[in-house]
């Protein structure tokens, strides 16, 4: 078997042009991307992140950048902490007792530490949205599912909500399939449609970062392909973090890849380099299927 079995997404190959925003950020003393990374602006900087539940330490000193308008994939064997890591970004762990964070995730350009106890998790979730492993639409109408994020934000203008709902459904490539039955129950949609509806729900509120937690693991190959296509389209507008246990998927959709093992970040680099010339032996073993 070849040690490089995957094709690499086009975005990782194109030499990224450095937008002026990054230079600006540096000028006011914000952390620059790590030297290893190409000069793409950083949307979030993870520093020495630790996560504990009870006595168990789930994440051990993770540090990495999340590049703006790029797709970053988190890969690794089951139980390596990739979902746990992802759920730190929207403070999902706060919903359950006994969870503690240490270290920081700085959201740029404002520099808010997402994990600071002074920062309200609601604020974090309003800026960073999430798509889950299993499609989880509300047992409400298609329209209400997408509109819910706007209602939570106190949007009362019917026209504004209508527009946003349409826009989000179009971005999620679902509009044409549902435009004539927006008042139908979301449960009547197919699994793939439900997942795109959940993406529309997450998009409707203009998030800065979107988190995907194995978004296609409950879907058939055709639905999976449409979701992957969607992710490729979405990164023009926002920053995406995706957990996947499917390495081909990571290779197809992502620009950067982080390989995790037992709560540690083993290697972070462009997807191209992770898959073509990983620096660490462990990464190579996992990528080539000798392990995991």
């Amino acid at each position: 078997m070849s040690s490089v079995p995957f094709s690499i997404g086009p975005a990782a190959q194109a030499a990224p042009v450095r937008p002026p925003a990054a230079q600006e950020a540096e000028a006011v003393g914000r952390p620059a991307p790590r030297p290893a990374a190409p000069p793409v602006p950083v949307k979030a900087e993870v520093r020495e992140l630790e996560f504990h539940y009870g006595d168990f330490q789930g994440l051990k000193g993770l540090s990495m950048p999340v590049h703006e308008r790029r797709v970053t994939a988190l890969i690794g064997p089951s139980g390596c902490g990739k979902s746990t890591f992802l759920r730190c970004f929207n403070r999902m762990h706060d919903l359950y007792p006994g969870n503690r964070y240490r270290g920081e995730i700085r959201l740029l350009p404002d520099g808010t530490n997402l994990l600071a106890s002074a920062v309200d998790p609601i604020e974090v979730r309003m800026r960073i949205s999430m798509v889950f492993q299993k499609p989880n639409p509300f047992p409400k109408s298609i329209y209400e599912n997408v509109a819910y994020g706007l209602r939570v934000r106190g949007e009362g203008n019917r026209r504004a909500i209508d527009d946003k709902v349409e826009q989000a459904l179009r971005s999620a490539a679902l509009w044409d399939e549902v435009k004539d039955r927006l008042q139908d129950l979301a449960f009547n949609l197919s699994g793939g449609q439900q997942q795109r509806l959940c993406i529309a729900r997450a998009l409707a509120t203009d998030p800065e970062i979107m988190l995907f937690d194995e978004p296609t693991s409950a879907l058939d190959p055709i639905a999976t392909a449409s979701i992957e296509e969607l992710i490729a389209d979405l990164k023009d507008k926002l920053t995406i973090l995706i957990v996947t246990h499917n390495m081909q998927q990571a290779a197809r959709v992502s620009d950067y890849t982080a390989y995790m093992y037992l709560g540690e970040l083993v290697e972070f680099d462009t997807t191209e380099r992770i898959f073509m010339q990983p620096k660490r032996k462990e990464t190579e073993d996992y990528i080539t299927g000798r392990f995991g």
Binding site: R125, S129, N136, F138, Y148, C198, R201, A202, T205
Partner: protein, 311 residues
Amino acid sequence: MSTSRAGEDLAALRELIGRHKRRDVMFGIVGLACMMVGVVTLIVLFIDLLIDGAPRFSWDFFTSFPSRRAGEAGILSAWVGTLLVMAVTMVAAVPLGVAAGIYLEEYAPKNWVTDLIEINVTNLAGVPSIVYGLLALGLFVYALGFGQSVLSAGLTLALLILPVIIVATRESIRAIPGSIREAAHAVGATKWQVTYDHILPYSVGGIMTGVIIGLARAIGETAPIITIGALTFIAFLPAAPVQAEFPFVSGEWLFAPFTVLPIQMFNWVSRPDTAFHANAAATGIVIIVATLAMNALAIRIRYRIRQRIKW
């Protein structure tokens, strides 16, 4: 060795299977008999009541006050009393029970105090109803001065069915998958928004079922109502809640003396004159039909909601 079994061996195997299957049939028969004990008893009881009470059914029976003459006596004051008491019970128990259930399930910190409260709530459902009657006699009738009134009776029964509603609320909340809750939190909803926009609407079917089953229990309760001193002979109706004159609504009925169906029945059963026993049987039919109707409604609601929301 050959793969086919010898004739003898096969016969033994069939014999073994036959013996095991006989046990299947045996349990089927025993189980059926056990079930019949319950069902047949209920049916026989109901038919017996029907035979005794059916002749008494007439329009007059529902529109007449109790009387010294069995043939003229009716249950007007009793069913109106039951209706009013149930109204008070529902208004008092539903908000209290639902709010308590939501708090315990969604808000209460998970520690030993909550566990203790949880165990207590479940145990409250098993406290004999007459104990509630004694509590109510001291609290509502005397300490709060509500007297032997519709209000006291309604609140007493509300206490009685509170645990039922709390448990039903918690169970239907618990049936909502965590993924739905996480979805709502993930778009930035606060705890209250999640509760009000999602938890409550999705669990309303289960809560309503609990409320109706609670009320169906309350409608037949006799002991606590006797304890707080319901009268057995009421020949008038409480003031109507809606009045022709300003301010159009009146709370007077809350403090009126009253009787309810099971008390009326109890009163008639204890008369030596057997003519009254027919009245009692007829009243029993009314109570049973009301209870069955409420349970049927609860099942119907649950079925309807299940069709709409499947997890």
